[in-house]
Symmetry: C2
Subunit: 192 residues, 2 copies
DNA sequence: GCAGCGCTTGACACATTGTCAAGTAGACTC
DNA sequence: GAGTCTACTTGACAATGTGTCAAGCGCTGC
């Protein structure tokens, strides 16, 4: 909305930190942490949903995402790119897991949040589709897959949810997650 | 708590129906749908968390879960049991997905819900552990897996989250989910 | 000096959860 | 038939959270 961009930045930084530390937090808590009034939040964001989504975008643009994406795209072949994609998620998921959980929860009741989050999921699925086409062009995709099926599979395997289950719920290390998922995804996509 | 078991049943049935139809609903809405006062809910359940968990238990015990479990345990060998386990989830997940989503969302802020849901997850993981031991005893488990690792993997693959992503978000049919997951899980566990 | 932007202050309506106290209707007992 | 107990109702309340509104204040640029 309107308002000073530096204040907006302060709010987003506070939201990012609080969500990472405490999980779901109230608008009041974010305002307090940012050192502004609760009303100031509504000068910059229409509602809680918009603030949460802006926080994700902020993490995306201020974190290592762009560099990791470039690294994936510079892989020598499709299957290596998929392996790097798994590593990208192992690296990046910790940065957004808490915000993502909060949005994922709010999605159930807030149509705006649902729509925006679906868009993001769609973007990630497109990235998966490009990787699968790459693998297929290399002739490395097992013929039992349709391109769409393989895309959906890769998308579901590299979701925050699976990462969250294995790393946070089951306590896997980053390396264990990467090694295991690279092996299973490769076996699934490329075949024996 | 106290109260007439038939009233309790009415409340649980209403909660089950409303959650399936509308996702997260308020205590007031459940009471109204059950034809009792909102206070009656608190005569039967300490709080919202307990009602949600009782609703899951109610679905478990009134639905096809027991029979499906027996069917899995009667498989001729470990890998067939795993395949049936995938089918069990394809069959059963639609029954509990909405309640599970609601609990999963509430888990972030409610420690009781978190603890109870973790217990349930632990139970499901134990079932996965038994299947993996069965596969290993058959000599069919790829040596690259540790028993724990394979258990966690099977547990994460057969989670409601992966099922939800593929079937609800991506629109896969029940059969497509079953066929694909059976193939990928088998390849991952048994090797080429 | 002053106009306007950005933020603050304090209030409000509304929804939701969980609690409390008093009341009621029916069944069961003596 | 009077009394009692159980299960539920009714209506109120506190606490917490979201989103809105109106008035005010301070700094900056003209």
């Amino acid at each position: 909305m309107t308002g000073n961009p530096r204040t907006r930045e302060r709010i987003l930084a506070a939201a990012e930190r609080l969500l990472a530390e405490r999980g779901p937090v109230s608008m009041g808590a974010i305002a307090q942490a940012a050192g502004v009034s609760r009303q100031a939040l509504y000068l910059h964001f229409d509602d809680r949903a918009e603030l949460l989504l802006a926080t994700v975008d902020h993490i995306d643009s201020s974190g290592p995402l762009a560099e990791l994406r470039r690294w994936v795209s510079e892989a020598p072949d499709g299957l290596t790119a998929v392996a790097r994609f798994v590593e990208l998620h192992a690296e990046y998921s910790p940065h957004i897991i808490e915000v993502a959980r909060t949005i994922d929860a709010g999605r159930l009741t807030d149509p705006d949040l649902e729509a925006a989050w679906s868009d993001r999921m769609e973007g990630r699925r497109n990235a998966c589709g490009r990787l699968i086409r790459w693998v297929a062009e290399d002739g490395a995709l097992d013929p039992c897959w349709s391109p769409d099926g393989a895309t959906d599979y890769l998308w579901s395997q590299t979701s925050l949810r699976v990462w969250d289950d294995l790393v946070n719920a089951r306590g896997w290390s980053r390396d264990r997650y990467v090694t295991t998922m690279q092996r299973t995804v490769r076996r699934a996509l490329a075949g024996p």
